[in-house]
C-alpha cells in the first residue's frame, strides 16, 4: 500500500433524536492511501453517508463527533465551518448520488463549476470558464465548449454525473468522496462512470472513498473494503480478503445475497 493520505480513527457520530442521542457511526477507523480506493459498503442506514458528511463537517445541526479525521496529518474534526470551507471542494471533494437534484437547476453547469474554482483559486470569470470547459472535456462530455452553457436538465443522467465528477475534480483534490455515485444510473451508464473514475484516478492520483451498497461495484473498483452495519464497522480488509474469505457473518450474508441472484441466472 502507498503512504497514508487520509486517516479516520475511531470516528463516532452522534445525532440528537426525540428519544435522546443515537450513535449512527460507532468507532469507525480506516485509511485511504494516495492512488487508492477504499470502498465503504453497507445497506441503507448503516452510517456510510454520515461518515462521509462528518469528514466535511456537513452533518445535520446538533450532531456531535468524536475521534479523529486527518488529511495529510491535519486534523479536520472540530474545525469551524469557515475553516473547513477551504478544505471542502478543494482538498476533499464529493460526488453525490442523484446528480439531477445535486446540481442547481437555476444555473448553467459551467457557472456551477466555475464558482467553485474561483472560490478556491480566484482568477477571472473567463479563466474559470476555460477551466470549466477543460473539466468537462476531461470527463469526456462531447462538445464541451457549447455544453458548458447548458443547464443540468438538458443533460442525460450519466452526463449529469460526469458534470458532478468534473466539478469535484476541478480543484485537483487529494481525496474524492463518492457517495453512491452510480446508484441512480442504469447499468451500462454505471459501468461507464466507474471506468471514468478509475481512469481519472490513474491520471490524477486522487485517493477515493467510494460509498455504495452494491458489492459488485465495490469489487470492480476498490482495493480495500470497510463493511458497515447499523453504524458499526463489522469488517475491514483488502478487497480480495473480504470477498474471498469474509470473517463476519454479515459480510457473508451480503455476499450470499449477490451470488444467489447469479445462481438463479446460471441454473
Amino acid at each position: 500500500m502507498s503512504d497514508e493520505l487520509f486517516v479516520v480513527d475511531n470516528l463516532t457520530v452522534t445525532l440528537p433524536t426525540s428519544r435522546g442521542p443515537v450513535d449512527v457511526v460507532k468507532n469507525v477507523s480506516f485509511t485511504v492511501g494516495r492512488d487508492e480506493t477504499v470502498g465503504i459498503v453497507g445497506e441503507s442506514g448503516s452510517g456510510k453517508s454520515m461518515t462521509a458528511l462528518a469528514v466535511l463537517g456537513l452533518l445535520p445541526r446538533g450532531a456531535r463527533t468524536s475521534g479523529s479525521v486527518r488529511l495529510d496529518g491535519a486534523e479536520l474534526l472540530g474545525r469551524s465551518d469557515r475553516d473547513l470551507r477551504s478544505v471542502r471542494g478543494n482538498a476533499i471533494s464529493m460526488v453525490f448520488q442523484d446528480p439531477l437534484s445535486s446540481l442547481n437547476p437555476y444555473y448553467t453547469v459551467g457557472l456551477q463549476i466555475a464558482e467553485m474554482y474561483r472560490t478556491h483559486r480566484g482568477g477571472s470569470r473567463s479563466a474559470a470558464r476555460k477551466v470549466a470547459i477543460e473539466a468537462l472535456e476531461r470527463v469526456h462530455i462531447p462538445d464541451a465548449a457549447r455544453r458548458v452553457d447548458h443547464y443540468p436538465h438538458q443533460f442525460s443522467g450519466g452526463m449529469r454525473q460526469r458534470v458532478m465528477i468534473a466539478m469535484a475534480l476541478c480543484c485537483s483534490p487529494s481525496l474524492l468522496i463518492a457517495d453512491e455515485p452510480t446508484t441512480a444510473l442504469d447499468v451500462t451508464v454505471q459501468a461507464q462512470i466507474l471506468e471514468l473514475l478509475a481512469e481519472l484516478q490513474s491520471t490524477t492520483g486522487t485517493g477515493m472513498m467510494f460509498i455504495t451498497h452494491d458489492l459488485a461495484v465495490i469489487s470492480s473498483i476498490a482495493q480495500r473494503v470497510l463493511v458497515m452495519q447499523s453504524g458499526d464497522p463489522v469488517e475491514y480488509g483488502t478487497a480480495e480478503q473480504v470477498f474471498s474469505d469474509p470473517r463476519h457473518e454479515y459480510t457473508r450474508m451480503l455476499l450470499d445475497a449477490v451470488s444467489r441472484i447469479d445462481d438463479e441466472v446460471l441454473s
Binding site: R85, S93, S101, L103, P105, T119, Y151, H153
Partner: protein, 327 residues
C-alpha cells in the same frame, strides 16, 4: 419566443373580449333600464324614448355591444355629443366622461398599490428569510405567530383601529387627504402612510410565511448541500443556492397580487376616503352607475390578465427549465 409572446397576447385579447361581453350582459341587460334611471323622477315616456335613442338602447343587443366596443377604440356619438376614443361612455350620476374619471383616479390607486407592495415585499421577504434561517427559535415562532394573526385581521378593522389610535388619539398623523407629491411631499407621505400599512399588513404576513417555507424547502435541497460541499462562501451559498430558488416562485404570486391591486383597493380606499379606482367601484355599485361599473370591471380584468402575461414572461427569464420548454 416571439411566437409564444404573440400567442399569449392573442389570448389576452380573447379573454378581455369575453370579460367585456359578460360584464355588458350582466350590467346592461339584467339591471334596471338605464333610460329610466337617467330620466329621474320627472319623467315622460317621450323623454325615455329620446334617451333610449341617444344611448342606442333601442338597437339589437349585438349592435349595442359593437357600439360599446368600437367606442373604446374609435370613439362614438351620443346624439349631438361626440365622445372621443377611448370612450367608455358617461356616468349616469355625474355625466362625467368615464375615461376621464379613470385617468383622474388611477394615479391614486397606483400610489396605494406601489407603496404597499414595497412595504410588504420588504417586511414579508426579509421577515420570512430571517425566520427560515433561525428556524425553531424564539424569533421564528413569534414572527410566524404574528404573521398568522396579521393575515386574520380584516383590512377595515385594522384601518379603523389605526385611524382611531394614530389620528384621533395620538394625533401623530393627519387624516389622509388628496395631496399631490409635487405640492407637499411630507403631507403626501403622511397621507398615504396608513393606507400603505393597512394594505401591506395582510400581504406581508402571507409573504413572510411563504418565504419562510420556500427557503426552508430550499435549504433541504440536495443542491444546497452540494454548494456547501463545494466550500463556497456563506454569502454566495445564500444568494445563489438558497434565495434565488426560494424567491422565484414568489414573483408569480407577487405579480398577480400587485396587478389585482392596480384595479383598485376597494376597502382601503373607501375607508380612508382616497379617490382611487377602488372607491370609484364601490360608489358606482352603490348607485348602479352602469357605465362606471363596466369600466372598473374591465380595468381590473385588464390589469389581472396583463399581469398574468408579464409574470409568465418574467418566469421564462427567471427559471431556465421553463425557458427551454417554451422556446
Amino acid at each position: 419566443m416571439t411566437r409564444y409572446v404573440l400567442g399569449r397576447l392573442g389570448g389576452v385579447v380573447l379573454i378581455l373580449l369575453a370579460v367585456c361581453l359578460f360584464t355588458y350582459l350582466i350590467f346592461f341587460k339584467l339591471s334596471p333600464d338605464p333610460a329610466v334611471m337617467i330620466c329621474g323622477k320627472t319623467c315622460t315616456p317621450e323623454r325615455i324614448d329620446s334617451i333610449r335613442t341617444v344611448l342606442g338602447l333601442n338597437q339589437p343587443l349585438l349592435t349595442q355591444f359593437w357600439e360599446f366596443l368600437s367606442g373604446i377604440f374609435a370613439g362614438r356619438d351620443y346624439g349631438s355629443v361626440h365622445c372621443s376614443a377611448p370612450c367608455l361612455g358617461y356616468s349616469f350620476q355625474t355625466n362625467e366622461s368615464v375615461w376621464s374619471m379613470i385617468t383622474a383616479r388611477l394615479p391614486v390607486s397606483i400610489t396605494v398599490a406601489v407603496g404597499a407592495a414595497v412595504l410588504w415585499l420588504l417586511v414579508g421577504v426579509i421577515g420570512g428569510l430571517v425566520s427560515a434561517v433561525k428556524q425553531g427559535t424564539w424569533w421564528d415562532r413569534s414572527a410566524m405567530g404574528l404573521a398568522l394573526g396579521g393575515v386574520s385581521v380584516p383590512n377595515y378593522v385594522l384601518a379603523l383601529v389605526l385611524q382611531y389610535v394614530l389620528v384621533v388619539k395620538l394625533q401623530v398623523l393627519p387624516f389622509p387627504s388628496a395631496v399631490s407629491f409635487v405640492d407637499n411631499p411630507a403631507v403626501w407621505f403622511e397621507s398615504y402612510l396608513m393606507p400603505w400599512v393597512v394594505l401591506a399588513v395582510g400581504y406581508a404576513c402571507l409573504y413572510a410565511r411563504l418565504t419562510r417555507s420556500n427557503v426552508i424547502d430550499t435549504l433541504a435541497e440536495n443542491y444546497y448541500r452540494t454548494a456547501r460541499a463545494k466550500g463556497l462562501s456563506g454569502a454566495l451559498i445564500m444568494r445563489r443556492h438558497a434565495l434565488r430558488p426560494a424567491l422565484t416562485p414568489i414573483t408569480t404570486i407577487f405579480g398577480m397580487d400587485f396587478a389585482g391591486l392596480l384595479g383598485g383597493a376597494l376597502i382601503t380606499e373607501t375607508v380612508f376616503g382616497l379617490n382611487g379606482i377602488g372607491k370609484m367601484a364601490a360608489d358606482s355599485i352603490a348607485k348602479n352607475d352602469q357605465p362606471v361599473i363596466m369600466a372598473v370591471t374591465l380595468l381590473a380584468a385588464f390589469f389581472v390578465v396583463i399581469g398574468n402575461v408579464v409574470v409568465d414572461l418574467l418566469y421564462t427569464a427567471l427559471d431556465p427549465r421553463v425557458r427551454v420548454v417554451s422556446a
